[in-house]
């Protein structure tokens, strides 16, 4: 047995006992023991979230505060702009924005949410990257910012068309939030941070709650008839149908935000000619791609048949091409679409809607059409 096979104990979120009590099927995920599904199964959990409301434990994700040493929030925002291509200075009070940490080649180190909480920036980052992200922030921003990770906070996502009605009795002020509003809110008298966001394509909320109050809050939400606990399986099929990138699948250190079709997330202020153009890692690559296009692009893909086309399937431009032109980055069956859905990367010339390519599935070349995303109609409260 090699030393690399030494197992590290899996970490547990503050909702671990609740997952077991509710019959969650636990699997290792990003170093945590997490529920992949509950008794109803991925299909029913997915459809329930689209029809009513689903509760997701996303406590494995990282929560961080960036506090300006000067006391001026703009100093923290300007500092963070050294690491991301987004306009952070322009985030209004109690608004949240999607961003990416980039590297010198323009690739993505992680994607994250950044909110303006008045005296500090509040960040949510991916579980698998959170230690590296914190080190990255410390290495580059310690001159300007106090960096504080918040491991004693849980994070609960409540998603679906009934989410607002479910949350309102516990936190009346949340009903007035619009998509991507974020800030402190009392929920059941608990001091939480609530954002109107999520990662399912549905209306909903993410609620950051002190770890010792998380189970009480989750239990109160689950007591509602419209709410079921939902596992990682349905979380993945929901975000895939919503056309949303997942780090490690659509995004990685060798993929730029423009290749990933995320240029909508890069505001004018940071682009060539903007007030604070460039100045982030890989700016030369990314700004050039914004102006002239990227050599390859993330696309949505729909199959004609019923066979799901999974992550890793190679994509060919012609039925009998010997060499692959691209690959599927995420794929599976879309329970709401009632069809196979996938995302993948193709050379720019083939990344246009309506183009037919061929996916290799167990030696067969199955036709797939480049299709617009999201695959479902999102229901954000803008």
């Amino acid at each position: 047995m090699s030393s690399s096979s030494v197992e590290h104990p899996l970490k547990r979120t503050p909702l671990y006992a609740l997952h077991l009590a509710r019959g969650g099927k636990m699997v290792p995920f990003a170093g945590y023991d997490m529920p992949v599904q509950y008794a109803p199964g991925v299909l029913k959990e997915h459809l329930h979230t689209r029809a009513a409301a689903g509760l997701f434990d996303v406590s494995h994700m990282g929560q961080l505060r960036l506090r300006p040493k000067s006391g001026k929030l703009e100093d923290a925002a300007r500092a963070l702009e050294r690491l991301v291509p987004q306009d952070i200075v322009g985030i209004a009070l109690h608004r949240q924005r999607y961003a990416q940490f980039t590297n010198e080649r323009g690739g993505v180190l992680d994607d994250l949410m950044v909110a303006n909480f008045g005296d500090h920036l509040f960040l949510v980052v991916n579980a698998a990257c959170k230690d590296d992200d914190e080190a990255h922030l410390r290495a580059h921003l310690s001159d300007t910012c106090e960096i504080e990770s918040l491991p004693d906070r849980a994070l609960i996502a409540l998603q679906g068309p009934k989410a607002a009605d479910v949350l309102a009795p516990l936190s009346p002020a949340t009903a007035a939030l619009r998509f991507m509003n974020a800030g402190p809110q009392q929920v059941m008298g608990i001091a939480c941070y609530v954002s109107r966001s999520g990662y399912t394509g549905e209306d909903g909320f993410e609620i950051s709650v002190p770890a010792d109050k998380a189970e009480a809050l989750a239990t109160a939400l689950l007591d509602h008839n419209d709410v079921l606990p939902i596992g990682l399986g349905a979380r993945d099929s929901l975000r895939l149908e919503a056309g949303l990138c997942l780090y490690g699948h659509e995004l990685d250190v060798a993929t730029t935000p423009v290749e990933a079709a995320l240029e909508w997330s890069i505001q004018k202020a940071r682009r060539t000619g903007g007030a604070r153009a460039g100045g982030f890692p890989g700016a030369d690559v990314i700004l050039k791609q914004l102006a002239h296009g990227a050599p390859r692009r993330r696309v949505g893909l729909l199959a004609d048949g019923r066979a799901p086309v999974r992550e890793g399937a190679q994509l060919f431009v012609e039925q009998d091409d010997p060499a692959a032109a691209g690959y599927v980055s995420s794929g599976g069956f879309g329970p709401s679409k009632i069809a196979p859905v996938a995302m993948g990367y193709l050379p720019a010339a083939f990344a246009t809607e309506g183009t037919t390519v061929f996916a290799d599935v167990r030696g067969q070349r199955l036709p797939m059409r480049v299709a617009p995303m999201p695959f479902i109609t999102n229901t954000y409260k803008r």
């Binding site: 991925v42 299909l43 399986g233 099929s237 019923r306 066979a307 799901p308 599976g332 069956f333």
Partner: protein, 121 residues
């Protein structure tokens, strides 16, 4: 008719020199909601333990292995139209294929119902 089981959770109903093959209730519970089934072609020759069919749930694809050596003589077209039969009727309606048994001695290595129950207990 004798029903036998493999350790990979296939069942076989033996009728003369033909075995009808499906997956067990235990297997469909483990897989979850089945959304696609890929079946072998009639006439295909398979060796014991060859991948014979593929069953896909929302999350993952799993192989169904040939439990014995032989030739595929029939497939269940109903599964292509309604893959969820595997979940709702695994033991009867959701048979996958019929295979002509090449070597009856291979059946000796399979489990009866009591042994399979013990295997999945």
């Amino acid at each position: 008719m004798t029903t036998l089981f493999t350790s990979d959770h296939e069942w076989l109903k033996i009728d003369g020199d033909v075995a009808t093959v499906g997956i067990t209730d235990y297997a469909q519970t483990q897989l979850g909601d089945v959304v696609f089934v890929e079946l072998p072609k009639v006439g295909k020759q398979l060796k014991k333990a060859d991948a014979a069919a593929v069953v896909e749930s929302v999350k993952a694809a799993s192989d169904v292995y040939a439990p014995i050596t032989g030739e595929i003589v029939a497939i269940n077209d109903a599964l292509a139209a309604e893959p969820s039969l595997v979940n709702s009727d695994p033991g009867e309606g959701a048979w996958f294929f019929k295979i002509k048994i090449a070597d009856k001695s291979e059946l000796d290595g399979l489990m009866d119902e009591a042994a399979y129950k013990a295997h999945t207990a």
